[in-house]
C-alpha cells in the first residue's frame, strides 16, 4: 500500500512518514503543494494525506488539480483549523476524510485503514478467530477454548470490531463511533470501562491475554 504525504511542517511530516512506514505502508513525503501534485499525478498511490496550509498551492488546490488529472485515490485532509466551512469545502471537493490537528496518530492510522478498506467487497460473515477465541457473527456466539462466553450486544459488537481489525490500535473515539455511534469526545472513561468488562469475560482465566492497552493511544487485539 503506497501513501503520499504532503505536509510542510518538518517534524509532523517526518513523524507521519515514520509512523506510517512502521505500520507497514510505503510512503512518499512532499513538502510543497506543487511537489505533492507532481508526485500524486505521476506516482501510483493508494491514498493521499494532504495538509490544508501548504506553500506554493494549498491542499484544496492540490486536490482539485488531482481530481482534474483524473486521480480518484482517497484523500484525507489534515488541518489546524476546525471550521465547518473548511469541512464542507473539503468534502465538496471530494476529500474523503478530514482530521483536525492535533490528532492522535492512532486515530489517523485507524482512519487511513478505514479509507483503504473502503470500496473492497465486504467479507461475508464468517467466523472470526484469534488463537482459541472464536466469534460467529451469524449465530452471535463467542467461545474461547471451547467454552461458551455470554456477551451483551454491545460487548459482542466491541469484540467483533477488535477481531475485524486485529493488530490495529483502536483509539477510544473510534470505538465509541463504531460500536455506539457516538461521535463526540466523551469526558468520561466509558470506553475504558466497557473494554475492561469485555476483557474480564474473554481474557480472565485464559492465556494468552488477547486485548492489550496501548497507553495514551487505545486498545489492540493482538494477532
Amino acid at each position: 500500500m503506497k501513501i503520499l504525504i504532503v505536509e510542510d511542517e518538518p517534524k509532523t511530516g517526518a513523524y507521519l512518514k515514520q509512523g506510517l512506514e512502521e505500520a507497514g505502508f510505503v510512503t512518499d513525503l512532499a513538502r510543497t503543494g506543487p511537489d505533492g501534485l507532481h508526485l500524486g499525478v505521476t506516482g501510483d498511490y493508494d491514498l493521499a494525506i494532504l495538509d490544508v496550509m501548504l506553500p506554493g498551492m494549498d491542499g484544496w488546490q492540490v486536490l482539485r488539480a488531482l481530481r482534474a488529472a483524473g486521480q480518484t485515490l482517497p484523500v484525507l485532509f489534515l488541518s489546524a483549523r476546525d471550521r465547518v466551512e473548511d469541512r464542507v469545502q473539503g468534502l465538496e471537493l471530494g476529500a474523503d476524510d478530514y482530521l483536525v490537528k492535533p490528532f492522535a496518530f492512532a486515530e489517523l492510522l485507524a482512519r487511513v485503514r478505514t479509507l483503504l478498506r473502503r470500496g473492497r467487497t465486504p467479507s461475508m460473515p464468517e467466523s472470526l478467530r484469534a488463537t482459541d477465541l472464536e466469534l460467529d457473527p451469524l449465530r452471535r456466539r463467542v467461545t474461547r477454548g471451547g467454552r461458551r462466553i455470554d456477551l451483551t450486544a454491545k460487548e459482542f459488537a466491541l469484540l467483533e470490531l477488535f477481531l475485524r481489525r486485529r493488530g490495529e490500535v483502536l483509539p477510544r473515539a473510534l470505538i465509541a463511533s463504531q460500536v455506539w455511534d457516538m461521535n463526540f469526545d466523551s469526558d468520561t472513561n466509558v470506553i475504558d470501562v466497557a473494554v475492561r468488562r469485555l476483557r474480564s469475560k474473554i481474557d480472565e482465566g485464559f492465556e494468552p491475554k488477547l486485548i492489550r492497552t496501548v497507553r495514551g493511544m487505545g486498545y489492540v487485539l493482538d494477532a
Binding site: F184, D187, T188, A194
Partner: protein, 460 residues
C-alpha cells in the same frame, strides 16, 4: 470642519433668537415713530395752509391783497424751517418765503395741486411738504395754490440716533444673551463633562469606578444609571474572563509540569528502554489531556463568537437518551449507579451536539452519585420547549455555587481542581453553550438529597 460644541451652538442660537426678536421689534418701533412724525408734520402743515386760506379769504380787495405778504411773513415768524409759497391762478409765484432755499419739488407739487404729503431733500436738507388749491373768494381772480414745506432735519437726526441706539441695544443684548446662554449651558453640561471624565478614567484595572448618580438632573441620572449598569455587566464579564484565563493557565500548567518534571528526571541518568517507554506513555497521556482541553476550549470559543451553528434536524430525545444510557451503562454499573429514563420529547437541533450535552450531564451525575443510588433522566415536552432534566441524589450544593456551576473550570471545592484525567472541568460549560446555540438555556437546582440540572430547548 469639526462640529461645534453644544455650548457653542446653544449660545449662538440664543444670540440669534434675541437679535431676531429685537430686530423685528426695532423695525416696528422705527415705523411707529416715523409715522408719528409724519402725522405731526401733516398737522402743522395743514394748520399753516388753513391760516393762509383764512388770510386770503379776508383780503377781499387788491389793497388788502397787497398787505397780505407782510401778514404772511409775520405769520411765519418764529417758525424756523417753515417755507411757504402761494401761486396765483396762472401758476406764477405770487408769494414765497425765503426764495433762495425754497424747495423746488414743493412748487412742482403745488403746480400739480397735490394734496398728499411729500418728502424730499434739497441742498442736503430733508423737507416734508403739503400743497392745496384754495377756491377763489370775493374779488380774487381765480384760485390760489398754497404750498407749505417743513425742514425736517431734526426729525431725521432723531431717527438716525434712534436707529443707532436700537442697533447698539440689539447687538449688546445679543452678546449678553450669548454669554448668558454659554454660561448656563456650560453649567448645565458640567455633570456630563464629569461623567465623561469618569468614563475616560475607567480602565481594566479600575472597572469598579461608578458615576455618582445622586444630585444629577433626571435626564442625566438615567444616563448615569444606564452607564453604571453597563459597567456592572462589563466588570462581571471581565472578571469571568480573567478568572478564566488564570484558570486556563493553571490547568495547562499542571500537565506541563508533569511532562517537564518526569522528562527531566528520566533524562538525568541512563535508563533501560522500558523506563523510557514508560515515560513516553505517561507523556502521551498528558498530551491527550492537553489536546482534549484545547478542543473543548476551541468549542467554547466558537460558541462565544456565535460560530457554533447547529445542524438542524428533528431529534428524538427519548431515543438519544436511551442510546446514551446504553453507552454509559458499563460506567454506571461500575460505579454502582442505576440510570433511569422517563418521558419523551422531540426538538429540532444538532443530534451530535445534543448527545454531547446530555452525555456531559449524565457523566457529571454519575460522578457525583453514591453507590446504590439512581440517576434519573426526565424528558418533558411543553408547548414551547423540551426540557431534559438529569437528577442525582447527593448533598445539596450551596446556593452561591449554583449560578457558577456552568462557568468554565468552576469547581465547588478549589482543592479538587487538579481533577481526574478525563474530566477537563469544561463539561457543564459546554452543555450551556450547546443549549444557548440552540436558543435554549440551562438551570441548576439543588436541595438536600437532590441535585437537578435542566436543559431547556425550544420545541421542534
Amino acid at each position: 470642519m469639526s462640529p461645534r460644541t453644544l455650548t457653542h451652538r446653544i449660545a449662538l442660537l440664543f444670540a440669534l433668537v434675541v437679535a431676531l426678536v429685537l430686530g423685528a421689534l426695532g423695525v416696528a418701533l422705527d415705523r411707529a415713530v416715523d409715522a408719528h412724525f409724519r402725522e405731526m408734520d401733516q398737522h402743522v402743515l395743514a394748520g399753516k395752509i388753513e391760516l393762509v386760506a383764512n388770510l386770503l379769504a379776508k383780503a377781499r380787495d387788491p389793497a388788502a391783497l397787497d398787505l397780505l405778504p407782510q401778514q404772511l411773513d409775520d405769520a411765519l415768524v418764529g417758525h424756523h424751517g417753515l417755507a411757504l409759497a402761494v401761486l396765483d391762478a396762472d401758476g406764477r409765484i405770487w408769494f414765497a418765503s425765503s426764495t433762495e432755499t425754497f424747495p423746488h419739488p414743493l412748487l412742482e407739487a403745488a403746480r400739480r395741486s397735490e394734496r398728499s404729503l411729500i418728502t424730499w431733500s434739497a441742498q442736503g436738507r430733508p423737507y416734508r411738504g403739503l400743497a392745496a388749491r384754495l377756491p377763489p373768494t370775493g374779488g380774487q381772480q381765480g384760485a390760489y395754490t398754497v404750498a407749505v414745506a417743513l425742514d425736517i432735519r431734526h426729525h431725521a437726526e432723531f431717527m438716525a440716533l434712534f436707529r443707532r441706539s436700537l442697533v447698539l441695544a440689539m447687538l449688546l443684548a445679543a452678546i449678553v444673551t450669548a454669554a448668558l446662554g454659554w454660561a448656563v449651558t456650560a453649567r448645565a453640561l458640567r455633570p456630563l463633562r464629569e461623567m465623561g471624565a469618569t468614563a475616560a478614567s475607567i480602565s481594566a484595572s479600575r472597572l469598579d469606578a461608578r458615576l455618582p448618580a445622586a444630585g444629577l438632573p433626571p435626564e442625566l441620572a438615567s444616563l448615569a444609571q444606564a452607564f453604571n449598569q453597563m459597567l456592572d455587566r462589563l466588570q462581571d464579564a471581565f472578571r469571568r474572563l480573567s478568572d478564566f484565563s488564570a484558570d486556563l493557565a493553571h490547568e495547562l500548567r499542571t500537565p506541563l509540569t508533569n511532562l517537564m518534571t518526569q522528562t527531566q528526571v528520566v533524562l538525568s541518568r541512563a535508563r533501560d528502554a522500558a523506563a523510557y517507554r514508560e515515560t513516553l506513555e505517561s507523556a502521551l497521556e498528558e498530551y491527550e489531556r492537553l489536546a482534549r482541553m484545547i478542543d473543548d476550549m476551541l468549542f467554547l470559543a466558537k460558541a462565544d463568537n456565535r460560530l457554533l451553528v447547529p445542524q438542524r434536524e428533528t431529534v428524538d430525545l427519548g431515543l438519544e437518551a436511551r442510546r446514551l444510557i446504553e453507552f454509559h451503562e458499563a460506567l454506571a454499573e461500575e460505579a454502582g449507579v442505576t440510570l433511569s429514563l422517563e418521558g419523551e420529547a422531540r426538538v429540532s437541533g444538532d443530534r451530535v451536539m445534543l448527545q454531547r450535552a446530555l452525555a456531559n450531564l449524565l457523566g457529571n451525575a454519575i460522578r457525583h452519585t453514591g453507590r446504590g443510588r439512581t440517576v434519573r433522566v426526565t424528558l418533558r415536552q411543553t408547548g414551547t420547549a423540551a426540557v431534559i432534566a438529569v437528577e442525582n441524589p447527593g448533598p445539596a450544593i450551596p446556593a452561591e455555587h449554583l449560578p457558577r456551576l456552568f462557568d468554565r473550570f468552576y469547581r465547588i471545592d478549589p482543592a479538587r481542581r487538579e481533577g481526574g484525567g478525563e474530566h477537563t472541568g469544561l463539561g457543564l460549560a459546554i452543555v450551556k453553550s450547546i443549549a444557548e446555540a440552540h436558543g435554549g438555556g440551562v438551570k441548576a437546582r439543588s436541595e438536600p438529597g437532590l441535585t437537578r440540572f435542566e436543559l431547556h430547548l425550544p420545541s421542534a
